[in-house]
Symmetry: C2
Subunit: 689 residues, 2 copies
């Protein structure tokens, strides 16, 4: 199999000598976008160099995607050909950035001239510098052009005049040579010349990336701040009635808003609010034989009243929904909707678009199944349908419909059971018109699948936190989330419970376990949420021993929750305090600066988060210590790094417990801690830099 020998093509211009490599951050060679939030500076590093001893100049180039104008930021050298630069995008949207570099002959000339000692060499170099100055003048305009031209002219004239001195008499004109050198090295002129560089042979980063449209330009998605910092509260609208036995409505949810706001949540997430299928409807506790009056699962979407764009009549109307959104906004709460792309057998789509489903040999529609299990109340879409274009457009229009009603956050149900390509297209399409819209991926599945969805554009992702309980698990997992390869695109959202997951450690658990899991979620992850009122009321009854399903799950029935004011029967006061702590302390608004500290005790976990200013100064630091043992007091020595916390170099510093309002004096190194779960299983210490 001797392949044909082909001449290797010469490049378009072989005089391009600078190299730009390893532009970071970069997800999969530019195939996917890096994510940042509004107001956050984007820090770019790159390798840049050229052959030989020449100097390079390096610039970071960025623009809003679609915008023709490119902004340029001069990058600064670090060590060993590493360069750094930063920019702050003006707002949410899609951006592109790349790095360019060129050989800076003016700078090389200047650096060399500084080191020259031979008089004849200095005079020749001055003439060479005059030529470079004239070239810069030719690229300049106005006063700059004039200044550069005059400088070049003067330099040449004096160098030529001095050059007429015989070589063996050079030492006689030493002061003039020094003066010429001084003129040549004029720092203001150097600065002026630097403004008009010769970029004919500029290199642009091109190592990887992707499209002809964006050669070498890496993609960046900037989301609004809530993408990076949010506290979610999930509740079932139909359980929102204050009257036991009455089906809750969207208006009841509106009445519940002050309660949610008091707890300090900023996202109120509602399970699907659409008409619920009647055919094959499930009964209480997932029974296959429903009783009359059973309300069915909100995820069995669609009935004769309508589908994904409609409101279940028992909940109210589209107008009620818009009113709910409006009232929530006045309290600083956003309504997040659940989008579950699947149909009940009586969903209008089934008749209107039979080609969007799979069919069985007996002429029935293929329901969801995982043999021998059957989910006959759910018809999945067939993403391999020949009519995929119409399907995709319709599904996208569901988001657009709710965006028109004021929704800006979607929680997407099981995105990993729909085609990946659909999500990439759909999210990009939505965000191109509505960059403020956020998507949370509910993909409790294998790691690579979760990561793929995050890369495709989901703004936040559910995590394995729900199953990470002991100190080693928590440490490994949150180190991975904060510092692992996904940190540029995977934004974790940590939930101690969901309607689907009552983890075993919450089964009939005491109050302190609910507190512990809540504190961990809220301080380890900038985005977190709870499913309530089950959580604050510490509901811990599973459907069966070992099952992750709730007994009398709201998925299949209405629950009437008694919203106790008693702080021992409800965690709502503590939750309010916790969310207030989160809001006030910028350290807790991001996961990038998370560090665990040794405690010498496997039941005592300690970690800190901090916020940094542009110059690297610590502006906020919070140190959390949690007793993971529900029963016994635990003690330990927490070994901290005071400098990392921004309080290095002092004898001791104040550590103020934001939970108990106690003042402690801490110092660098080991500090003794004792935590009694019967009182409060944690310290959340504000460290004042």
């Amino acid at each position: 199999m001797p392949p044909e020998i082909k001449a290797v093509t010469l490049p378009a211009d072989g005089r391009i000598r600078a190299v730009v490599d390893a532009v970071l951050p970069c997800v999969d060679g530019g195939r996917f976008a890096v994510k940042r939030v509004e107001g956050e500076a984007v820090e770019i590093t790159a390798h840049a160099f050229t052959d030989g001893h020449d100097q390079v100049r390096v610039r970071l180039c960025w623009r809003a995607e679609g915008a023709p104008a490119v902004e340029e930021v001069e990058m600064t050298p670090l060590f060993n050909d590493d360069w750094t630069g930063r920019f702050t995008p003006p707002g949410p949207g899609r951006y592109r950035y790349t790095v360019c570099a060129w050989v800076d002959h003016f700078r090389a000339w200047r650096v060399e001239l500084q080191r020259r000692v031979d008089a004849a060499d200095i005079l020749l170099a001055a003439q060479a510098g005059a030529a470079l100055g004239e070239e810069a003048a030719a690229r300049a305009a106005g006063a700059d052009k004039k200044a550069l031209g005059q400088w070049a002219k003067a330099l040449r004239k004096r160098a030529l005049a001095a050059g007429r001195t015989a070589l063996d008499q050079m030492d006689q004109i030493e002061p003039e040579i020094e003066a010429i050198k001084t003129l040549a090295l004029d720092p203001q002129l150097a600065e002026l010349a630097a403004r008009y560089p010769d970029r004919r042979f500029e290199t642009r980063f091109s190592a990887t990336s992707v499209t002809a449209e964006h050669p070498g330009e890496l993609p960046l998605v900037v989301d609004r701040e809530r993408a990076g910092f949010s506290a979610w509260y999930e509740m079932f609208p139909r359980s929102a009635s204050v009257d036991e036995g009455r089906h809750g409505t969207l208006n009841d949810v509106a009445e519940r808003l002050p309660y949610v706001a008091q707890m300090g949540f900023d996202v109120l997430y509602l399970p699907p609010i659409h008409p619920i299928g009647r055919s094959k409807r499930k009964g209480r506790n997932n029974s296959l034989t429903p009783e009359p009056g059973d309300v069915g699962s909100p995820w069995a979407i669609g009935a004769e009243e309508g589908g994904h764009k409609d409101v279940l009549p028992a909940l109210g109307t589209l107008a009620d929904f818009r009113a709910l959104v409006a009232k929530a906004n006045t309290l600083g709460i956003e309504i997040a909707l659940d989008i579950a792309f699947q149909c009940a057998p009586d969903h209008p789509y089934v008749k209107q678009h039979p080609e969007w489903f799979r069919w069985r040999p007996d002429g029935s529609v293929q329901y969801a199944e995982n043999p021998p299990k059957k989910y006959q109340d759910i018809y999945p879409f067939n993403f391999e349908t020949d009519d995929w274009r119409a399907l995709w457009l319709e599904l996208k229009s569901v988001f657009e419909h709710w965006i028109a009603q004021g929704v800006k956050i979607f929680r997407v149900d099981n995105p990993h059971t729909k085609a990946f390509a659909f999500w990439e297209w759909c999210i990009a399409e939505i965000k191109s018109r509505h960059p403020e819209v956020l998507f949370l991926a509910e993909a409790f599945t294998r790691p690579k699948v979760m990561h793929r969805l995050a890369k495709l554009g989901f703004s936040q992702s559910y995590t394995y936190f729900t199953w990470r309980n002991n100190k080693a698990e928590l440490t490994d997992y949150f180190n991975e989330l904060s510092h692992g390869f996904g940190h540029d695109y995977f934004r974790p959202n940590a939930w101690p419970n969901t309607p689907d997951i009552l983890n075993e450690h919450l089964h009939h658990a005491p109050r302190q376990v609910f507190i512990t899991r809540l504190l961990l979620a809220a301080t380890l992850s900038a985005n977190y949420g709870i499913y309530g009122p089950a959580y604050e009321l510490m509901e811990g009854r599973p459907r069966a021993p070992g099952s992750e399903e709730y007994l009398d799950s709201e998925k299949y029935q209405i629950r009437h929750w008694k919203l106790e004011p008693d702080q021992y029967a409800s965690l709502h006061t503590l939750i309010g305090k916790l969310n207030a702590i989160r809001r006030v302390h910028p350290a807790l608004h991001s996961n990038a600066q998370l560090r665990f500290f040794d405690t010498g005790n496997p039941l005592l976990i300690a970690y800190a988060k901090r916020a940094l200013a542009g110059d690297g100064m610590v502006t906020s630091a919070v140190l959390t210590i949690v007793n993971l043992d529900a029963t016994f007091r635990q003690t330990g020595w927490v070994h901290i790094d005071a400098a990392w916390l921004g309080v290095g170099g002092t004898e001791s510093f104040e550590a103020f417990d934001l939970l108990s309002a106690q003042h402690f004096h801490w110092h660098d190194g080991g500090n003794f801690v004792i935590l009694d779960p019967a009182e409060m299983p944690a310290h959340i210490l504000r460290i004042k830099p």
Copy 2:
């Protein structure tokens, strides 16, 4: 700056559901080639999965670059959506590989059928399977087509017949339903169907890479074995005369070949053999005032007798050179030539191509300088010349000229002072016609520049080994070389000395230091070399205290070396033994399997290399322990991992010292070692798996 809103383009086919990601190895997203040697299997891993519960099939696709036929290898799943596959390219050359995947509906159907228990479901699934069988038959031919068709027909017929049984009588035909299930699950038919998969919606890896010509195909360069395993000997031909005072010739080098072969070297590398410039010639010890008769530096290339394609008349003729190559080949030695792209002032290029050089304002050619230092005997090429195409073609023709004389290995002098783009083009161009040709980069410069040259195509690279002396330095550096990010493209070649570098630890050093550095180079690096006879004769006199220059350096004068047969005055016998050990033990032929072991003593370094068969079995293992202290005996406990060495699970095993021919009994865990530098500062232990 609100960018224009543009619809995001729908993909060409939205039904493509499989994902292929993270294909490894991969250098800079496919921008540069991975390197392997002939006969070595190339192991590829990838992430592959699809949405939902469906199964994927994954294939590794590879071909010689330019060859239309693609070879396919079925990949096998590991854990968590990781897949692996391997292929062995047939010989040196350039290859491309990628990974493709598709959703395997036949397999999903079969897996689900195995789990089905409901009789009616089984009969429906059998019909669905019959349809899949017919589709496979339509893609098949000959006997396979017939077999698949018959199976599908029989399956459908029996399923339909049984299906006519009333639903409430199904249990009466249980044996028939079991028989249908057995027929449907026929493993031979499954295998047959798997040979004719439905690949309409196949995904091909495309995350990164580069060119329209090679969509998603990652580049691979396969070199002949010497690229990965070689022992180099450098000598100055003009010092090869046996008669003191006579200028050595290429014929003298030919006479010296048996001596080199006895030492076991397989590459004999000669500094430039071209005419040496007379203008500004340097004298002995780099003097600016040469004496009459001074021979000048071989790197000051070019005089009226010719340039880079000519032989210095005092050395002989092109015919002599060809004869030398031929004789060397009979002894298993290859001649490597030094290519230094720079000119003496009297090089013919200067007059013929003045536009290839930079000019100073006084009308003279710009010589090399690093102010205030001047190298007036060297004119660098100007790679920014407008005539760069002609320059590149001429430089490439220098390699071609020597390839025509039989040279297959080039040591390139200071490649980092020439344009990077030139090297990428030139090496690719040469290797497209001569895949056997190897290039060693002499770039003693900053790490990123060295790595760039390796990525651009250099087959081997000089390293920092020359300056890495203590245990921590050696451990860190060789771990980086073997396991760091460059391991797929950067092939180290370790030299304890070169004509330019007499490192301080060799200054007036005793015999055991020369032995230690030699052993380290030869056992840590599969490619290594020495500059002789300076090395084997233990020349340790610097030009000045602290200088890395040799006193009376051969760079500027002829040396007459007395090739002592006495083994205390020369290391040549030990070198011969060492190179024989290297040759016999495959463990020492590669750096991929290098591991350091704890000794508890900072002056005692221990490390092993091993070779693995395709199935992961250890086929060769060599454990080296070196006393880094030139003066004192050192002892320590070497903590080994017997299983890693292929001798796990035994009470003890033989460790045979290949240097001293001593037998030791070693075991897993700690083993006591004592090494006296006065005798031999090292063990090289063969561990027999």
